[in-house]
């Protein structure tokens, strides 16, 4: 039984297959409308989410399957003190596949050890979010037509941003990727990404604090939100939350074919005036998330 806990659980070929399938689903929606008929997806969200949970549920429904689960830990037995392990073991009897989000890092790894059905990590604290990574890869591939030979700027909270860590790891497997890391000093990429991804693979990267200086070089700009829920100290959050705000003025220096991605939700790091710019891909990205999750569910249930 295969689980998806870490984006690196999937090889490059497996990712290509999933992205090809997602592309085919977009092109031939009807063909897949009963692909998961009679199957049940449990969405266990111990932490709030809009896009991820709803896109999983919409994905399963579009495949003709059914959905059960909870969207808040307060409506689960975890409020009574039930362990994650017990919850997962029991839900395994009711569903064919489980997508779970949990605020504690490593919870899906623990779940995979207890589950009788495939587990999909739908986000564990500041750690991993592999289906967001698949969504990002799909969006880059559809926008650029390739996953190699790209300059990618990651901007904002690179310390706690799990989507950034996962996408860096995933992109490090493709040829000729130039990484530019744009963040304040306090929110720089964790050491382990530096040592175990960049240094170990001999990948060059640049750390900068100014978005303006590097804007003309970028093929992809991956914006992130400074996440309030990752801070223990609110004063630090308030001090850092408005460090980078992307607006039309900043985009004047960008390439005409830049693709702006954001895992969403945004707060104010992308001005709403950017939404109408043809380079803004973040809503398309959220849409892609449903299709790539459809492809993933189908693949994992096959």
């Amino acid at each position: 039984m295969k689980h998806l806990i870490d984006p690196m659980d999937l090889g490059v070929e497996e990712i290509n297959d999933i992205l090809d399938l997602a592309d085919d689903i977009i092109a031939h929606r009807e063909k897949y409308s009963t692909a998961c008929k009679g199957k049940k997806l449990a969405t266990l969200f111990f932490e709030p989410s809009t896009r991820t949970r709803l896109s999983f549920e919409a994905a399963m429904m579009e495949l003709g399957g059914n959905v059960l689960g909870f969207s808040d830990a307060n409506s689960s037995s975890s409020t009574k003190g039930e362990s994650v392990g017990d919850t997962i073991r029991i839900v395994s009897y009711y569903a064919d596949i489980i997508a779970m989000r949990h605020p504690k890092e490593g919870a899906p790894m623990l779940a995979a050890a207890k589950a009788l059905v495939p587990i999909i990590n739908a986000g564990d604290g500041g750690h991993n979010h592999p289906t967001q990574t698949l969504t990002d890869l799909m969006t880059i591939r559809r926008e650029k037509g390739r996953l190699s030979d790209l300059t990618i700027g990651f901007c904002g909270d690179l310390k706690f941003g799990r989507t950034v860590h996962s996408l860096i790891k995933a992109m490090s497997r493709y040829e000729n990727i130039r990484f530019i890391l744009i963040s304040p000093e306090e929110l720089q990429i964790p050491d382990y990404i530096r040592t175990e991804v960049f240094d170990k693979k001999g990948i060059s990267y640049r750390q900068v604090s100014s978005m303006d200086d590097v804007m003309p070089e970028l093929d992809i700009l991956y914006m992130t939100r400074v996440q309030k829920e990752r801070f223990f100290n609110e004063a630090d959050y308030i001090r850092l939350k408005d460090t980078y705000i992307l607006d039309c003025k900043k985009l004047k220096k960008a390439k005409p074919d830049l693709s702006i991605l954001h895992p969403l939700p945004r707060v104010n790091e992308i001005s709403t005036e950017v939404d109408d710019d043809p380079r803004a891909c973040y809503f398309t990205q959220a849409h892609n998330g449903k299709f790539v999750r459809m492809a993933l569910i189908m693949t994992m249930l096959a």
Binding site: S83, V84, G85, H102, P103, K104, E105, G106, A107, M109, L110, D124, G125, G126, H127, D191, Y192, E196
Partner: protein, 139 residues
């Protein structure tokens, strides 16, 4: 300074100077009912300075703990005053319930009855990471 040799027990030699107390604690030697000699800062031709632990009782020691704390240690088994076996240790691939993850966001901080597991991710630099949250273990 002289410390009597032991008749039956274990000698941990070539301990990096300063690490004997950590070994004493992590091997839970305070629970033993026998004599334990902690010899610190001994002159050594090979190491300059080293620590030695002598345990005056036949017992099994957790080689994973030793390999994690200091893989250069030599473990000698003593029987009737003679060394009958010498073991070299190595950093174990996995540490199970030896140390706990200190990441407050890790699932191991809240889930009951879970094994605390660290995996060796970089043998050269002896870096261990939590199996669950991948946080690096700091010695």
């Amino acid at each position: 300074m002289n410390i009597d040799s032991i008749q039956n027990g274990i000698v941990l030699d070539h301990i990096t100077a300063g690490k004997a107390m950590q070994l004493y604690k992590d091997l839970e030697l305070e629970r033993l009912d026998c004599s334990v000699a902690i010899i610190q800062n001994v002159k050594s031709n090979k190491m300059g300075r080293k620590d030695i632990l002598k345990i005056d009782q036949e017992m099994s020691v957790n080689l994973d703990v030793i390999g994690y704390i200091d893989p250069d240690i030599t473990v000698s088994i003593i029987k009737d005053g003679e060394t009958i076996e010498k073991k070299k240790v190595a950093p174990p691939d996995r540490l199970i319930n030896v140390v706990k993850c200190r990441n407050p966001r890790c699932i191991t901080t809240t889930e009951q009855g879970i094994d605390h597991i660290f995996k060796l991710t970089d043998r050269e630099n002896r870096i261990y990471r939590c199996l669950y949250c991948e946080d690096m273990l700091k010695q």
